[in-house]
Every structure is written in C-alpha cells, then in structure tokens.
C-alpha cells in the first residue's frame, strides 16, 4: 500500500513537472506581454528595457527553472495587467468559481439522478423519451449559446434574473466571499449554474439510466424480485445502490472538469472567477496568470486522480494482487 502510494505520488509529481514545462514553453509564444503592459506610444528602447527587466531575454531553461522554483513556493509572480501578486488574485477569485461549480454540480445531481432513475426504470415510457430528448438538446448546443439564450429569455425579456456578476456578496472570515447569504447573490447563481451544469446533468442522467438498465437485468435483482420484495425496495435499496459507485466516481472526476470548463460560462455571465480571469489573461497575454491557472487545474486533476487511485486500492482488494 505504502509503496504503491509513493509510486503514484512520484508519478503525479512528474506529471506536474511536465505540465509546467508544457505550459511554460507554449506561453513563450502567445503574443508579446510587453505590448500589453505599455501604451501604444512607448518607444522601442523602453520596451526593450522592460523586456530585460522581466527576464524575458534570459535563456528559456533559466526562465523555466525560475518559474518552477517560484511556483513550488506558491509564488506565481506578479500579474502583468493587474500589478498584483497572482496568488492574491487567485485567492480572491477562487470562492466565486467554487460556489458556481458547487451549485452546478448540485443542480446536475439533484435533477440528473431522479431523471436517470425514472428513465432507467421506465425505458419505453413517453416521459423518459422526453427526458432523453431534452437532455440531448442540452448537449447539442454549445454552452455559450445556451447561456446567451438564457440571458435573453430570463434577464432581458422576463427580467427575472440578473444577467451578470455575483450580486451582493458577503465576506465570511477574512478570505472567503459568498453569494449564498443574500437574495441577489442566490438569484445571480441560477442562470450560470444551469448553463454550466446542464452538460453534467445530461451525463449523470444518461449514465444512471444506462446503469439501471443493466442492473435491473442482473440475477441479483431478479432474485430480489422473486423473493417478493416490493418494487420500491428493489429499485432503491438494491438497484440504485449498485449504480452509485460509478456515479460517485464520475461526480468526483467531473468536479475537476466543471471547474476547468467554467471559463466559458464565466465569460458569458461576467462571473468574477478564475476562468474569466484566465480567458482575459489569454487575451492580454498575462503569462503569470495563464501559467498559474494551468498549473492549478493540472494540480486539481492530478490530485483527484491520485485520491481515486488510492481509494480504489483501499476498496478493491483484487487490485493489490493485480498491480503489485
């Protein structure tokens, strides 16, 4: 167990290093940061001086080494656009992204699971066909288009919900801001959460449906039925329980991708989170922010992968023999 964990940890670190290298190398080619930091009338000599000062003229390996050692200390440098430490900026943006991600995951689960169960149990019913069709429309339209249509309908036409931002936020402690405690904050969460969660909802619904379809055909369920247990107990105590393992795994894995893919939703709704900051950083060639964002999402994925691996190792004894 211990050896396995150590091996995985080492692998994870190598992954992070490679991601850092890739991110860093590619960023050297995305536009010219100096042009973003100065106005249009700045002379070439001044631009060159700035380039020198930023270390952009150093050999690439030197710049990379500096980058990695700093990143290991959570120092991602200073943002070119905001002139603030990148770590501070992220600290301020993380609550917004996490609350949005949490709400969209919640939406996906609360709506997706019942729909999936129903569609799995009543395979041929008209309602499950409707669920399936609606869910398919959900994944057939690009996220940004769904978001814009929602704004058009609920903000502009009906004027029920806000079209941008987080509403009134409340500071909890010194480092967290939340939109959960005000009416305007909650209202502001509705449209972005649906936009972001729609795809995950579809995914969960379809997965549960598929799992249910498989499970209710197994001998285990057939026996339970044969024993005369009522449908409700068979469905929920026996069948659903069996479908939950993959669902939990996927929810875990999807949480990472929700956070990563919040970029587009955040752009459409001007949600002040990390994703919006990342996209703006790409447009403004703010290399420190781009690098930090990629490392952060990479870290998230690698960490979740690592935890899932360890969990499987703990849960499934066969693996210990299989992979030792």
């Amino acid at each position: 167990m211990f050896g396995f964990a150590i091996r995985r940890l080492l692998q994870a670190m190598i992954v992070m290093l490679v991601v850092a290298l890739l991110a860093f190398t590619l960023f050297r080619f995305v536009g010219d940061p100096v042009n973003q930091m100065v106005g249009i009338e700045t002379s070439i000599e001044e631009r060159e001086a700035l380039r020198e000062r930023l270390g952009l003229n150093d050999p690439i390996p030197v710049q990379f080494f500096r980058f990695v050692t700093d990143a290991a200390r959570f120092d991602f440098g200073t943002s070119y656009q905001f002139r603030q430490p990148v770590s501070d900026l992220f600290a301020k943006r993380i609550p917004a992204t996490l609350e949005l991600s949490f709400m969209s995951a919640l939406f996906a689960l609360v709506v997706g699971i019942p729909m999936g169960i129903y569609a799995g149990l009543n395979r041929e019913s008209a309602l499950s066909k409707l669920f399936l069709s609606v869910s398919l429309v959900g994944i057939s339209l690009p996220t940004f288009f769904i978001g814009i249509l929602l704004i058009f309908l609920f903000s502009v036409t009906l004027q029920w919900l806000p079209s941008f931002g987080r509403g009134e936020v409340v500071e909890v402690g010194s480092w967290w801001t939340t939109g959960f405690l005000t009416i305007s904050g909650l209202k502001a969460l509705v449209l972005p959460s649906i936009t972001l969660g729609l795809y995950q909802m579809t995914l969960i619904m379809r997965l549960i449906r598929a799992e249910m379809l498989e499970v209710i055909r197994t001998d285990y369920i057939k026996f339970a039925r044969a024993r005369g247990l009522p449908d409700r107990i068979v469905h929920f105590r026996h069948a659903l329980k069996n479908t939950m393992v993959p669902v939990i795994t996927i929810t875990g894995l999807q949480l990472g991708s929700i956070i990563a893919f919040a970029t587009i939703t955040e752009t459409v709704f001007q949600w002040p989170g990390m994703g919006l900051m990342f996209l703006q950083a790409v447009q403004n060639v703010d290399i420190p922010i781009m690098a930090a964002y990629l490392l952060l999402t990479a870290f998230l994925f690698v960490a979740i992968n690592f935890i899932v691996d360890i969990l499987y190792f703990v849960i499934d004894p066969r693996l210990r023999i299989g992979r030792a």
Binding site: G31, L136, F144, F145, I258, A260, R318
Partner: protein
C-alpha cells in the same frame, strides 16, 4: 464543453478494476449484422428518423457546392449592400436569399450548407485522428503493460488536464509564434484537428487498453505468442476486432462533441475563420445580432447545428445500447 463522454468515464472506472464493465464483448462487426440489431434498429422509430436525418444532413453537406444557391466563399460575388437581409417571409426580404443574409451579405442557406460541410470535415478528421492515436496507444499500453503502460497512462492523465479549449488556445498561439504568416484558412483547420484529436484520444486509449488487457491473457493470444507471431500482428489481427464496437460508439459521440467544441472555439476566436465559416463560426457571428432583431443570423445556423448533433447523438445512443450485451 466538458471533455468526458459517457464511455470515457466508464472506461476510466473500468480500467481501474481488472474485470469491470469492459468484460469481453462479442466481436462487434459480426454483432452488427446480427438480426437482433437490425431488429432493434427498425423497432425504434426514433433511431430510424435519426438515421434518416443524419443521412439527409450529410448529403446536404456533401452536395453543398452543387445545391447551394450562392457560393459563400467567392468574395467577389458578395455585396455589402445585401447585408442583413431578412428571410423571405419577412418584410424587406429579397427572393434571392431564402433564409436571409448575414452581416457581410452572404446567403445564409448557402452558408449553412457550406458551414455544415466544414463542421463535418473538422469533426470527421479530428475523430479519425483521435481514434488512430488513441487505439494505437491503448493497444500498446494494454499489450505491453508495465512501464510502457504506466508512461502512456500518465500521458493520458496530463492530457486530461488540458481540455480541448485550452489546447486549442495554446496550440493556436504557439503555431502563430512558430510559423508566423501561414495561410490563415488552412492553418485554423489544422489547429482545430490537432487540438480536438489531442483532447479526445484518451477515451479510445482507455477503452482499448481495458479490452486489450482482458484479451491478451486469453489462450488464443497466448498461443499466437508462443508460435512466434509478431506482437503488432497479434494486436491488429486478434485484439483490434474485439474493440471496434466500443470504438464506434465513442467515435459517433465524439463526432457530435467535436462539432460542438469547434463551435465553442469559434466563440473564443480560435475556430474556423469568418471567410470560411463553420456552423459554429456562423453562430458566433450571429450572436452579435441577436438583440438587434436580426435573429436569423444566429438562429438558423444554431438550429442546423442542433439538428446535426442531435441526430448523430441519437445514432450513437442506439449504437451503444445495441452493442451492449448486457441489455440483450
């Protein structure tokens, strides 16, 4: 757009448990011809409709140059004075443009035919590229096991941290930096293929790896090995046919996902250029005119995109259920 397809997640779950859901499947090409499948196909009206719809849309895309009333790529034929003409049933319409025109005076109907063609070409090319890459790596990983397997699967982990959108942004930037002034129209196309393929191959690799791990311990493979048949031949001739079913399912769903992702990338400005628009490019152009009452510029391509993706997805769904032995 999130990157996991259903299959991918299941594969991700499966490849951690040696005998998870990727239990040996029947050779799927023969399964295809199974009367059961044809039966299930014909029984489902939705599937028949979806197949028909897909066929029609593919045909329209294929025949675009011959059936379109105008050539939207011929810049010399565009006149700015024809810009933003509404569809024929509205006021101020022009009978030359059935669905109206966009902001450059391009006929929307022709634009949609051509855009669909481009979306499909991007989709197919990226799916093929991803499948070839993913299947090869999956086969090698599953067959060789050990260190090779570990390296490939770690690369897959790295890849997962770079969703298609980030890859496209990065590749686009890097390619511009390296190559500078390449023909923009060709250039965007290859960037898209490359980015999409790079972000979709993992699904194939994981599925194929799982199946390969199961197959390689079977007696016939062991026997083939003993009599000295080269690994490559064993992989291609004996293991590969066993995975075509799931691969086909992933490919179908990926085709839909690729088309949607391309549209999202157009929104972010790294999709096909406006001089050679895909459906996604048309939608993101039209977005700017949604509030001003010129809804047709975004809505018609949007409907076309939704229909295309929906039909392909429905086919993928049916294929998945039909090829799943547990449901029979």
């Amino acid at each position: 757009m999130p990157l996991f397809g259903n299959e991918d997640v299941k594969a991700a779950v499966a490849d951690r448990t040696p005998d998870g859901s990727t239990e040996p499947r029947r050779s799927s090409m023969s399964a295809f011809l199974d009367s059961d499948i044809f039966h299930s196909f014909l029984r489902s009206k939705v599937t028949v409709a979806a197949a028909l719809g897909t066929a029609i849309l593919f045909l329209l895309a294929l025949l675009a140059p011959w059936i379109s009333p105008h050539d939207p790529f011929d810049l010399a034929s565009l006149s700015i004075m024809d810009a933003r003409v509404p569809p024929v049933w509205m006021e101020y319409a022009d009978p030359r443009f059935i669905l109206g025109t966009d902001d450059q005076g391009r006929d929307l109907l022709s634009g949609i035919f051509y855009g669909m063609r481009i979306s499909l070409i991007v989709g197919f090319c990226s799916v093929i590229a991803a499948a070839v890459l993913g299947i090869s790596l999956g086969l090698v990983a599953g067959y060789m096991g050990g260190r090779v397997d570990a390296v490939i699967m770690r690369i897959a982990d790295i890849q997962l941290t770079f969703p298609a959108i980030l890859i496209a942004l990065l590749v686009d930037g890097a390619a511009r930096g390296i190559f500078g002034g390449i023909d923009r129209e060709v250039f965007s196309f290859w960037i898209l293929i490359f980015s999409l393929a790079l972000s979709f191959w993992v699904q194939y690799a994981r599925t194929v790896r799982g199946s390969t791990m199961v197959e390689k311990n079977k007696e016939y493979v062991q026997a083939a090995r003993v009599i000295g048949i080269p690994s490559v031949i064993i992989m291609v001739r004996h293991i590969l046919p066993n995975v075509t079913g799931p691969v086909l399912v992933i490919a179908t769903i990926n085709l839909a996902l690729a088309i949607v992702t391309e549209a999202t990338l157009s929104f972010l400005g790294v999709g096909m250029p406006p001089t050679q628009p895909s459906l996604g490019t048309l939608i993101s152009i039209g977005n700017d005119f949604l509030y001003s009452g010129e809804w047709w510029i975004a809505i018609f391509p949007g409907v076309a995109l939704a229909m295309l993706v929906l039909n392909v997805n429905l086919l993928g769904d049916w294929l998945r259920d039909a090829l799943n032995p547990k449901l029979r």
